[in-house]
């Protein structure tokens, strides 16, 4: 399965959420590199580079994901990681109840994320999507994901 990185960017601290996702992904055969909370975008990208991650998964719970994730897609392209699958999930905006989810998701997709998940997402949904996306890009080997 693939490699990926998991983590949260800047101020966010969903440590428990990351652990759950890390566990589920590992059980599903992914090699997970958890870069922990309070990470900068560059730390996330550097971790993905050094570990040759196939996917970057970013989680955010405190509602400022839109600001924290700004420019991540561009930076990935700049660092030669254009092909790396990028997901983001959690409470991505402060006023999510009053905004149409599709609208929020569209904004994040425009920022370079392949998939955008709400906080109601179950781990298996992410795993299934990841398998599909990695296999579509021919990267479903020992893929790792950097979870931030």
């Amino acid at each position: 399965m693939g490699d990926g990185g998991l983590g949260t960017i800047d101020d966010d601290m969903p440590v428990v959420g990351i652990r759950i996702l890390e566990y589920a992904l590992t059980q599903a055969g992914f090699r997970v590199v958890n870069i922990g909370s309070q990470s900068s975008q560059w730390e996330c990208i550097e971790a993905a580079l050094e570990t040759a991650a196939d996917a970057i998964l970013v989680s955010s719970v405190y509602g400022l994901g839109e600001i924290d994730c700004r420019g991540l897609g561009d930076k990935c392209r700049e660092a030669g990681l254009a092909d790396v699958v990028r997901y983001v999930g959690g409470n991505l905006v402060v006023t999510s109840q009053t905004q149409e989810w599709e609208e929020v998701a569209a904004r994040f997709r425009a920022r370079g994320f392949d998939r955008v998940y709400s906080s109601a997402t179950r781990p298996h949904q992410v795993i299934d999507a990841l398998r599909g996306d990695l296999s579509a890009r021919g990267r479903l080997r020992g893929a790792s994901c950097a979870v931030n």
Partner: protein, 459 residues
Amino acid sequence: MQVALLLDFGSTYTKVVAVDLDAVRLLGTAQAPSTVASDVTVGLRAALAGLAARGVPTRDPALLLGSSSAAGGLRMVALGMVPALTVEAARCAALGAGAKVIKGYGYKLSLAEVAELEALAPDVILLAGGTDGGDSDTILTNARALAATALSAPVVVAGNKSVSAAVVGLLQEAGKDARLTENVLPELNRLNVERAQRLIREIFIERIVEAKGLDRVRRQVADIIMPTPMAVLRATELLADGPPGAGGLGEVMVVDIGGATTDVHTVASGAPTVAGAVLKGLPEPRTKRTVEGDLGLRVNAVSVLETAESAGLLDRFRLGSDRLPAMVERLVRETAMVPETDQDHALDAALAAVACGVATDRHAGRVEEVWTVHGKVFVQYGKDLRALPAVVGTGGIFAYGRHGREVLAAATRGDPLRLKPAQPRLYIDRRYIMYAAGLLAERHPAVAYQVLADNLVEV
């Protein structure tokens, strides 16, 4: 009486320390100008004669071991992928092996970098890149680039395990002395430097001693078993942990102030002293060495003086300003100069206090206060050394200078965001025997510990 003679072949002086292994005591020390450029044994004989003149028996010693930092020391280049990750891990491994890291390179080498590397002509190249199972492209590309050079330096391959054997093969096919060891950064949050360091030391003993003109010593006199900085690092470990089966001082920092560089060594976990602090950055080894090439008391005296001036240290040591430029120029010109007048001593102390303060600033970790929606959070980078119980000063300034306490106290002052020792006990290596204790620890750790502990002076 069984005598151990511990030698150090430095670039300026050849030093010798004699220890009585039966009575567990220091017999004496002596030094003479180094003669590495011509016949290294001349300087050694002069140093031994100095010892004999003080009544120390130097014939037929029971043990004879040496360290060396002559001819530029062990000059290494560290190659990795991401500068903050594998390059830093490789640098850390090389420094801990007592090397001088003359350059670090990240990502794939450019043509200009390859040319620069060839011109630098390092003694050993440490080639890392990629965590295990991670990136393999960079290390393979860099290995091909090295294979195509005329460099003859041994290459220690310590990168991504998935391709490291292929990397070694590629280099060996090109006639290079490539040697395989474990990855210095097998996982993103795990540093693994010991194996690489052991290999670097083997190469030092096998090849570098000869290349530096010290083979005559090896044939005629003694085994040169490690670079001098590694001997000091070993002594730091011995001081902290004690000999096997006994306790030591606990966590400790050693500041080694020299003519060209200032080295800082710590043996300390560096764990946060603030509850709930989040640790960031590359994990640091318990035994850590940093080298500051811009903080020497002779070679870089001019720039160090400028820092001393802006820090208000010239007043503290009552240094008049009119003669200062000439005095500093003399220090740079005559690097072997030993202070004589009160002014000489005051100037050396002011420079050394800057070197000590800045070098320990750079060595210690730092903490940042971050406000989040959950409240205040502390983010720590590097080691928290605030609770460190002991700091030791070594180098000529502590052996021959007059202001050891003032110089060493700079290790507790400086940048307030740095996690420096707050209230440590301060000791100075008045007899200049740290390196010797590190050498002796290889064979007689209990004797080495006792002699070192007996001869450090609390100030």
